[in-house]
């Protein structure tokens, strides 16, 4: 099989922008990179001499570290700038910060930011590749890519007709939005579930099923993706309490039995054990949560490689 060549972007801003072929291109490269993760000497030379700046304006551990490792595996030099340590607190604009980073000869920027649309904005004000590591409640494209990559490993490469339920805080979730776009493009049937205040009917316009009855949402699903209940982001107006959430929507053994027998349980992390997910289930054989984390490295290696390659192709 020849390598899929469909990739002409220097930036990865949103899954919504991508074609099915572009998704396949990323998966192809992620599959090639994944076996290298287990080697003793893990370094590849793809991005040798390339400087990657991780600009994290919002706290993150998993995504930040996965991007750092992905860049290092490709031999890039990586610097992480955290929001609280950066000049933005001194009142510098994002445009100025980004242009300074570019002036410091950075070759790529990976950005996490609390404002939706900020990744797109960044890509418009600088020339070097921008990879969105999460922009507000808009998109988190690499999370959706690693989720789809994991689903393909477990459920088979063709996700057509597979039933995937996303459960939890959809309204404020960039992970949910990216996953909806990604899974739809791959032909899966998507159901959104959770309390009505966090899963408004308006999401039906995305071509998905919205379901506030948990049993109906989980019944016969091939996979369930849990989302962290981000109580720090919600006022008390969206749901009464974590306890109430757990009793109504938390995934436990009984509720997991409504899924298909071989269905998998996913979570982008960090997990609130005992809130959205029963602790024993999180550690059970049905949970693929740690596979997701590992796959996050391979997928991000693919993304960094592809975006940088486009830049150099454009330059030459």
């Amino acid at each position: 099989m020849t390598a899929p060549q469909d990739w002409h972007r220097k930036d990865l801003i949103a899954i919504e922008d991508l074609s099915r072929d572009e998704l396949e291109t990323i998966f192809h490269w992620a599959e090639r990179y994944k076996p290298t993760l287990g080697r003793t000497n893990k370094k590849l030379h793809t991005l040798n001499g390339v400087t990657v700046v991780n600009l994290f304006m919002e706290p993150s551990t998993r995504t930040r570290v996965a991007f750092e490792i992905a860049a290092m595996r490709l031999s890039a030099d990586v610097i992480t700038v955290m929001g609280d340590a950066s000049s933005l607190v001194k009142g510098e604009t994002l445009r100025d910060t980004a242009r300074n980073i570019q002036a410091l000869n950075a070759d790529m920027i990976i950005m996490r930011h609390s404002a939706a649309g900020s990744a797109k904005y960044l890509s418009e004000v600088i020339d070097i590749p921008v990879v969105n590591a999460g922009d507000g409640a808009h998109e988190h494209p690499t999370q959706a890519l690693l989720d789809a990559f994991t689903l393909r490993e477990r459920l088979g490469h063709d996700l057509t007709g597979k039933r995937i339920t996303i459960l939890g805080d959809i309204l404020f979730s960039r992970v949910a939005r990216s996953n909806i776009h990604c899974l739809k493009k791959l032909g899966a049937e998507v159901t959104l579930a959770g309390p009505a205040t966090l899963v408004p009917r308006g999401f039906e316009k995305f071509g998905v099923r919205v379901c506030h009855n948990l049993q109906a949402a989980l019944d016969g699903a091939d996979a369930v993706m849990l989302l962290r209940i981000q109580h720090e982001r919600q006022t008390s107006t969206h749901f009464p309490s974590l306890g109430e959430y757990t009793s109504m929507f938390g995934l436990n053994e009984k509720r997991a039995s409504w899924l298909k027998p071989d269905a998998i349980i996913m979570h982008p992390g960090p997990i609130n054990r005992g809130v959205e997910l029963d602790s024993a289930l999180a550690d059970s054989g049905r949970s693929v949560i740690l596979d997701q984390v590992t796959n996050g490295i391979a997928v991000r290696m693919a993304v960094l490689h592809l975006c940088y390659t486009t830049l150099t192709a454009q330059a030459s």
């Binding site: 939706a116 649309g117 904005y121 922009d135 409640a137 308006g202 316009k205």
Partner: protein, 425 residues
């Protein structure tokens, strides 16, 4: 000797007098005259308006001039020039200046600046409450004596129902209309755009149309209860329109305005996160836009107002969440309304011009907006077909936060006269 001007050969549209004909318009000493003697005709300065529309000068009920306090965004001088360029000869400026216009001294300052710098008629409004905080009534009587034409907290909606009720009662004593920007604060605090399909897609926090409609309903109830006069600013949603329609059918003394941006644009236009489209009330869904057009055509909404809200390029050059709300509009209103209302065949030209002239004037009782004999010769002459490009260089406003920046628009003001004196063109 009299100052004489004759505007010849234009299509004169004077909606207040149901006049729509090709002819000559006479101005003697800054006032519309019915005719000239042969001698006067010979002496008069002539403006050839053949092929052009001759309209009463436009009246804007809703302009932010930013002076005092934010003269880097706009001044009375620059804002009034922008008004003249857009065909507006009378503008009503909002009191959300720094300091707010909640005291006679600030009104006095604004009046002096108008006297010194303005090229069109500028009418100040006063705050309804001190500091626009919605807590304590501003000295409405003193503000009226200082020269205000209406009261409003300009951009802030009083949340406390009892204070709003008393404000309406108190303002009514002075014959002042209360202008209200309707928005329930608790429901919209974190919102940056219309709550709907597009806010879900873009991951931006929404302001629901219910938050507007609730306050429109509140204001209607209080107007009915107190006999006060309320004017709803910037109606943006179909539900508010319905509320207004029913109130007007009952005979409640309420009027309303809509902006050109809400007639032309929707939430779907935000898909590129263009901060120049971030405004409040937010651009709503297509069904809302259609209902606003219908309401303007059937008289439920009385006036087109610009809500001209200047912000600098730097202030708008940032993440969508952090950009200030508002857009400049004085200079694009005519072209945008021609496109949204006339070329789409929702209204005829005379009906549209009524919403830009005598109807807004009558909302607050200004003797403006007509070409009646004896009226001030405030006249706007425009070519409805002429194309122009909205560019930094083509705008008079100090700010450039227009959704139409870089676009070519159709319909251009060729000359603006205030009191018979040419101030633009």
């Amino acid at each position: 000797m009299s100052q004489l001007l004759v505007i010849t050969g234009g299509r004169i549209i004077d909606p207040a007098n149901q006049r729509d004909e090709v002819g000559d318009l006479y101005v003697r000493d800054g006032v519309i005259a019915s005719e000239f003697s042969d001698e006067e005709r010979e002496q008069a300065e002539t403006f050839n308006a053949s092929g052009l529309i001759v309209s009463p000068g436009f009246v804007d009920l809703h302009t932010h001039l930013r002076e005092p306090g934010d003269s880097h965004k706009e001044t009375i001088a620059s804002g009034s020039k922008a008004a003249a360029a857009g065909g507006f000869t009378s503008i009503v400026c909002m009191p959300n200046t720094k300091p707010p216009a909640d005291n006679a001294g600030t009104i006095q300052f604004i009046k002096e600046r108008i006297e010194r710098d303005a090229v069109v008629n500028v009418f100040p409004t006063g705050c309804l409450t001190m500091g626009r905080e919605g807590k304590k009534l501003a000295p409405t009587g003193s503000l009226k004596e200082a020269g205000i034409v209406a009261v409003t907290d300009g951009g802030h909606c009083i949340q406390h129902n009892e204070i709003m009720r008393r404000a309406l009662e108190y303002a009514a004593m002075f014959g002042l209309v209360v202008l209200d920007h309707c928005e329930d604060a608790a429901m919209t605090e974190t919102g940056v755009m219309h709550e709907g399909e597009w806010s879900l897609k873009l991951g931006l926090r929404g302001k629901s149309s219910a938050a507007e409609c609730i306050m429109v309903a509140r204001d209607i109830i209080l107007a009915e209860h107190t006999g006060g006069r309320i004017h709803i600013q910037q109606v943006s949603s179909a539900s508010s329109v319905e509320m207004l329609r029913r109130a007007k059918e009952r005979g409640v003394s309420v009027t309303a305005e809509v902006t050109p941006q809400h007639l032309a644009l929707t939430d779907a236009d935000l898909k590129a996160y263009d901060t120049n489209l971030k405004t409040v009330p937010p651009l709503r869904a297509e069904a809302d836009r259609q209902s606003l057009i219908t309401a303007l055509a059937d008289g439920t909404i009385d006036a087109i107002a610009t809500a001209h809200a200047p912000h600098t390029v730097t202030e708008k050059d940032c993440e969508f969440d952090y950009a200030p709300f508002g857009m400049v509009s004085l200079e694009t209103t005519l072209s945008v309304c021609l496109e949204s209302l006339i070329r789409s065949e929702h209204m005829d030209l005379s009906a549209m011009l009524a919403c830009l002239t005598h109807k807004p004037a009558s909302v607050i009782g200004l003797k403006k907006g007509t070409l009646s004999t004896g009226a001030d010769a405030d006249i706007t002459i425009f070519d409805p077909e002429a194309e122009w490009k909205v560019e930094r260089e083509s705008l008079q406003s100090l700010s450039r936060n227009s959704p139409w920046l870089g676009h070519t628009l159709r319909g251009q003001v060729k000359a603006t006269f205030v009191g018979g004196r040419k101030v633009h063109g």
